[in-house]
């Protein structure tokens, strides 16, 4: 891999992410994917909304659009339709993409527009101080659910499959090599690709739910992978994670892949 600094705006550092936050791992994994793909750096446009994950676009050296809360898929759609030669990607969070921006996300998926959405799911609103998100598991503590969340949470991948996304995957920040491969796969996919990246928030989620710091959360995250957690928990030689705060056994990997007509807007069919 080329030096990751090739793709960084070092002048914009230091970044705003907290110590121990896995978003940094995701940022590096994303840049590794771009490097694997050998894309023209000038032709990569990354669009983000509002939140911790969306701040990543400030530090990566592409054409970057830090838009409004939840609307990144809509900005990205306009960009892609107007300039089909660009590689358009979205970095969003679970609150940004699934709460305020849920409508934009499902419609981008339905259209099968050729953009890649990376949704960094840390199960909480980090930027605003640890409030419950649509991904906060039932029972989990957040600043707005001090006695434990009483609402069910979204399964982002099932939502996207239901909305018609033609490529859907889930990867873990704890498994960055696999993450980069899947992101590259998603970018190569013709049509809408959605990658849920399980990230974390040690500062709020970890602290409120007594999961521990950044390293502890990565371990905890890895144990939640169905490929790891279920066999391990059955053998009972590892500590069982508390069921109140965690859905046991997330399926990771590519969950949906299909080739469908790609939406390019209403435009003249023949080249000009």
């Amino acid at each position: 891999m080329a030096d990751v600094k090739t793709y960084l705006r070092e002048w914009a550092m230091p970044h705003v992410l907290c110590p121990g936050c896995a978003h940094g791992i995701v940022m590096r994994g994303f840049l590794a994917a771009i490097d694997q793909l050998q894309l023209d750096q000038d032709k990569v446009a990354v669009v983000a909304g509002i939140g911790c994950s969306s701040r990543i676009v400030g530090y990566i050296d592409f054409c970057t659009l830090h838009g409004t809360h939840g609307r990144a898929p809509a900005f990205a759609s306009g960009l892609k339709l107007a300039r089909p030669d660009l590689h358009v990607m979205v970095i969003t969070g679970d609150g940004d993409g699934l709460a305020i921006g849920g409508n934009h996300l499902i419609h981008a998926a339905r259209r099968n527009i050729d953009i890649t959405v990376m949704l960094l799911n840390n199960s909480i609103y980090g930027m605003t101080g640890g409030q419950a998100a649509p991904t906060t598991p039932e029972g989990a503590v957040a600043s707005t659910t001090p006695a434990g969340n009483t609402e069910p949470n979204f399964d982002a991948c099932k939502l996207m499959i239901g909305a018609g996304a033609s490529f859907v995957a889930r990867v873990l920040a704890a498994n960055p090599i696999e993450m980069s491969k899947v992101i590259a796969d998603g970018v190569r996919h013709p049509g809408f690709s959605f990658i849920e990246i399980i990230s974390d928030c040690p500062e709020y989620y970890g602290r409120y739910n007594k999961v521990g710091g950044g390293a502890d959360m990565l371990t905890w995250m890895a144990r939640r992978d169905a490929g790891v957690a279920v066999p391990l928990s059955e053998k009972k030689f590892v500590e069982h994670v508390p069921s109140s705060a965690v859905p046991l056994g997330m399926t990771t990997g590519v969950l949906e892949r299909d080739i469908r007509p790609v939406f390019t807007g209403v435009r003249r069919q023949e080249p000009l």
Binding site: R9, W11, A12, Q41, D42, K43, A45, V47, V57, G58, D61, F62, C63, T64, L65, H66, G67, T68, R71, A74, F75, A76, S77, G78, L79, K80, L81, A82, R83, D85, L86, N103, H104, H107, T264, G265, V266, R267, R268, L272
Partner: protein, 377 residues
């Protein structure tokens, strides 16, 4: 010039956009603006452009902003309820300085209101609808031909000042068909772009007229765009001095060119003792009323702004010194009348003829208003 034919206001808007070089339309259906979208979807493909119907008005303007950053001239159109939703991105486009055109065909409000009836209830929202301090450029045509001309002007101002421009007109103007000859050629202004090989490009460093050059995404300049307060590199900052300077520059680039952007047509004002102040369809009623009351010997005139914001206060102040009375006629419960009062500064009596029941203000009504007001006396 093409042959004279019957053209609807909303069609003239779409044709004006095409003439101005618009190549992207993103919108969401809403009465009474939908004909704009229905014309754009037919006209754009042949002009090499692209049309998309988005999931709502928030997404529509987001897509327009994305397309504009990709180098396209882009627009959306809506009516009151959708215009409310667009305020979020009018603010974003103002802050990030992304040229775009937003058309609001006004219907009765608030809320769902009177979907198929005219109003002028959004003129203050067009000025102050999005949060925070910001400039606004808002144009208001009175006829089908003027819808075409001012749509072109809206694009030119948006490109020149790197800012959203709002074109606002009532349902009557949108749905009226008039016999017009649309020009084949119009004057077009394009955004200033940086030199392709410029090093140390600063996307928010002021260029000519306080407006930073704007490259397109994908053309070689890698830059950051954000709605956060930012420095000349376009990067977020919470430095108050930098944030304050940015806001001042965004304000000044419009304020410093106010005389050039503001426009008002006057009619029979030279010897007038009473003047109407009216815009949109009411401007047409008032002009007709002026002619009718002059037949009865009342010296009336008209100030008809075609730019609502920046408010043409200078023209109003000049008129106020000359006439005894200004009758502000608008299809709302009193929005621009406050601006007229401020500009008139006590030099003339300012009275309102206000109506917000979904019916247009007619010439007969205004003849009555002048007569009731005792002509110019």
């Amino acid at each position: 010039m093409s042959e004279a034919r019957l053209v609807q206001g909303n069609e003239a808007c779409a044709r004006g956009a095409l003439a101005a070089g618009c190549t992207f339309y993103g919108g969401y259906p809403i009465t009474p603006s939908s004909e704009i979208a229905e014309h754009m979807v037919r006209l754009l493909p042949d002009a090499g452009g692209v049309f998309v119907q988005m999931e709502d008005e928030i997404a529509s303007l987001a897509a327009v902003i994305g397309a504009s950053l990709a180098g396209s001239k882009a627009m959306t159109a809506t009516s009151g309820p959708g215009f409310s939703l667009m305020q979020e991105h009018i603010g974003f486009a103002t802050m990030a300085e992304v040229p775009c055109v937003v058309v609001d065909v006004m219907r009765g409000g608030p809320s769902t209101g009177l979907p198929t009836s005219p109003s002028q209830g959004d003129v203050m929202q067009a000025r102050w609808g999005t949060h925070g301090d910001h400039p606004a450029i808002v144009l208001a045509p009175s006829s089908v031909g003027e819808v075409f001309d001012l749509t072109v002007r809206a694009f030119n101002l948006a490109e020149r000042f790197r800012t959203p421009v709002i074109l606002i007109y009532d349902e009557v103007i949108g749905h009226t068909r008039e016999s017009v000859r649309l020009p084949d050629q119009v004057e077009i202004i394009d955004r200033v772009r940086p030199a392709p090989d410029s090093v140390d490009f600063r996307p928010k460093a002021a260029g000519p007229n306080g407006v930073p050059p704007l490259p397109a995404f994908g053309d070689g300049h890698r830059f950051h765009v954000t709605g956060l307060s930012h420095d000349e590199r376009g990067f977020p900052t919470d430095d108050g001095a930098v944030a304050g300077a940015l806001l001042s520059r965004i304000h000044s680039k419009v304020a410093d060119h106010e005389d050039e952007i503001s426009a008002a047509e006057t009619f029979m004002l030279d010897d007038a003792e009473v003047a109407f102040f009216a815009y949109g369809i009411v401007g047409r009623s008032a002009r007709e009323a002026v002619l009718r009351v002059r037949e009865a010997g009342i010296k009336a005139g008209l100030i008809r702004p075609t730019t609502l914001w920046p408010f043409p206060g200078r023209q109003v102040a000049v008129a106020a010194k000359q006439v005894d009375k200004v009758i502000v006629a608008e299809m709302n419960l009193g929005q621009l009348i406050g601006e007229v009062e401020r500009a008139a500064a006590g030099q003339a009596e300012v009275v309102g003829h206000l109506r917000a029941d979904g019916e247009p203000i007619t010439p007969s009504e205004l003849v009555g208003a002048v007569t009731a007001a005792g002509g110019g006396n």
